[in-house]
């Protein structure tokens, strides 16, 4: 399987969206609309999911085997496609979470240290 794009390679937003989707699905299967709402609510509406990116991301994650999907009936009694985490997706979530923490820590260190380091 050829990777579509290297993951760590720029496009932080996209990588982050993937991470957020995976994290959201830990709570259980959900369809696209729910996923978008959960992300927005949980982030106290700080993040707005661009809907045009959500579905490409979902399909990409599914193509990679991190998500599985099936059609079902939603809480509104409407037909909807439900996504759920696969075992592979769960592993990726923990790996990506680790990467995220290391990166934010590193950025934090740099931002926090910037004043002291000029003194050297």
């Amino acid at each position: 399987m050829v990777l579509k794009r290297p993951l760590e390679n720029g496009e932080i937003l996209q990588g982050t969206l993937d991470l957020l989707i995976l994290r959201t699905l830990v709570m259980g299967p959900a369809h696209g609309h729910t996923i978008a709402q959960v992300i927005e609510h949980t982030s106290e509406n700080a993040l707005e999911v661009e809907q045009g990116s959500l579905y490409p991301a979902l399909h990409r994650l599914e193509d990679r085997g991190w998500l599985a999907s099936e059609w079902g009936v939603s809480e509104n009694n409407r037909k909807a496609k439900f996504y759920k985490l696969t075992a592979k997706g769960r592993r990726e979530l923990s790996a990506a979470t680790g990467r995220w923490h290391r990166m934010t820590r590193a950025i934090g260190l740099i931002l926090g240290d910037s004043i002291e380091s000029t003194g050297k």
């Binding site: 369809h31 696209g32 809907q51 045009g52 579905y55 409407r78 909807a80």
Partner: protein
Amino acid sequence: MSLRRIMQRLKKDEELAEEIESHLAHEEDANAARGLGADEARRRARVRFGNARATRERVWLDRSFPWIENLWRDLRFAWRSLRKTPAFAVIAILVIAVGIGVNTAVFSVINTVLLKPLTYPDPQALVELVNVTPQGNFGGASIPKFNTWLQQKKIFQQVAAYDFGGAGMNLTGGDQPQQVQGIHVSAGYFALFGAPVAAGRTFTQEEDSPHGGNVVVLSYGLWKSRFGGNPKIVGSNIQVDGQPYLVVGVIGRGFVTDTPADLWVPYQFDLASQDMANYFTVAARLKPGVTISQANAQLRLAADQYRRMYGADSLPPQGGFAVQSLQESMIGDTRFSLLVLLGAVGFVLLIACANVANLLLARAAARKRELATRAALGAGRRQIVRQLLTESLTLSLCGGVLGLLLGYVGVRLLLRINPGDIPRLGENGSAVTLDVHVLLFTLGISILTGILFGLAPAISASRPNLAMVLNENSSRSGLGFRSGKLRSILVIFEMALTLVLLIGAALLIRTFFKLQAVDPGFTTKNILTMAMSVDGDRFQKTAPVAQIIRDGRDRVMAVPGVVDVGVTNCLPMLGGFGMTFDVVGRPHANSPFTGGAGFHSTSWSYFETFKIPLIRGRLFTRQDDGSAPGVAIINEAMAKQYWPKGDPLTDRIQIGVGAGPAFAEPPRQIIGIVGDTHDGGPNRDPEPIMYIPLAQMPDLETALNSRVAPLWWVVRTRVDPYALRVPITAALQQASGGLPVAHIRSMEEIEARSIASQRFNMILLIIFGSAGLLMAMIGVYGVMSYSVQQRTQELGVRMALGAQTWKLRNLVIGQGMMLSGLGVVLGIGGAFAVTRFLASFLFGVKTWDPVAFIAAPLILCLVALFAVWIPARRATRVDPMTALRIE
């Protein structure tokens, strides 16, 4: 992209559209829950989602991107970047084309000879019947054997006998008599090989029985050329050897046999015959489901049956019968020599790969900033490797296309050189064609080549030290130590492979000269030979044949410029007959005869014509004819082998013991011993031969001989023998009452043919070795001139500090020759390991022949020296000031 993938993607797209609808519906629900009117809820949902079509397109593209788009982008990029360095691209493509071309050429021959199935229907079931002896399996059958095999109905569907050479027949009764290739066959022959019948029918069983009448089946080619494709020919008579023959059928166009035939006549064997002479070939078609080993088991029983029927002497106790695949029989030991050639071209391809890899490394060094920039801008290592591999595959596929052309032309040129007796090549190699197997082979090695020479440079280029490269301010330094070392290793590798090829070529050259130096035991200078077929009723007895020989000799001798004329049934170096003999009065151990020897019938003037020296006794004279007591002459090899002590001239021999009634005759007095001739070719030791006068053969033997062998006329001339061709053939036609002659060749041609396969192999290895040498030269030149360029600054400093120019020159030469030296050491080691595969091609030369093992490395070193000389001189011309200012 496959249709299935497209269908799958269409389905997924539909699903996505539905999914988006579902999303919008949920959004609408949410909006409605917040108290918006239906229309407004709907409108806001759509606005918030944006362009649904764009989303679908994006997912669609996401799915297609990696396969098509990336490849297309890489290819375009490769094309652009190769166009920027056209000289490099052209050289690389040419080198690859040569490597792939020679492989394609050799493979297309192998494909034709070894891989293509026989053109007959269901060819796997076709087998040849062979005699099992302690020395190996040999073809050849007699009537009693054929009779025994015909009865093996449990294992064979069909069994048929046919000539393996044929004496040639004369089509008379036109304006111009014509000698054609006529093959005797048994009735089952056409069914066995599935020959299509264009008109009429093939032989009936009655026609293939004794006194079955004169019937003939024509080939399509002869029917068209001689009889204008006349459909009424079937049922009419044609003149063959002066006799009317009824044409019963014409065989269709597609039927090609390995000994091409113009017409077929039935053997009309008397199956009750006790004639033990082996003079034809038998093939059979196995019954469906019968394996070769099952057939062989049955044939062991058949051998016992045969012994009971024809006597214990008819088959030695260790002897027996077996079958082998007809295709294997035809290929024989050609397989091995073709595989050796394939190995040699494999070497050429490896050298080509090493060479192009070297060029790519040099190019990567020049592009290192481009690559480093790409890496710095975020291209992953995988992407860079992929990009570089796409470039090398582009190169190798271009080289492959050109190589296919080269191979196609090359194989025609190769086959112009007489390849000796490689079977199944067709007339002038016409059977060798480009088919799908050859195309696949070429495509396969092109891709393999591209990966082979592209991978190492790509990997090495994909890990540059970014900071170092980008911070450099000039193009002075290379990819650093690793790449330099890699290039040196490649050059050493090239040198070693080239040396192996050169040593192989040197061994074959030595072999060829040794072969040419062998004295064949007879003169080949100014000798013209030609074949006269004496098949037909006129020549069933010895007297008329002897008459033609006498008259013909007298008339040809009258042609100005002719020195001598001889006649024989076995021309030297064209193979001959063998026969058992018994020394009269000598007790034998457990065999019914003393031994076996070559058996030639000649005219009395044969030895003088060929200048075969008389050692002792006397030669035949005109008086040694049917009315005189029987005489024989033997050669030295026979005298040495069978008369280690004692005088052969005091003995009489009985020739053809146990060989059937055709050879029944009183014993012959040995009257002379002549010098040995290399009849099996110069690389074979002379075999024992006994000669008898043609005029003294028993009638039945003459009749048999006339069917299986022509009379060979041998004319020695004072001038170029071809100049006398017309008067000689005219004289012979007059003497024989209009018999045509064919196969007019000089003895020098026949001698050249006898070493044609050695010459062919030699020429090929010289070509391959030279190609390798040229590439190795380019390789070592490239590395050394690059190294000089790298060290311009260092050399400038040295010069500024007062170093002598010759010292600088020797520095470069020393470095270059060091590489060559390592290559030579490795190559000699490799050659020691590999030349033993050549052992069966060599003659008079050991596989470790010191001359070859010294000469070839010397040539390689000289060429390498020449190649490093140019960069070495450049090193001495470095201007110190410029060199220092480059910085």
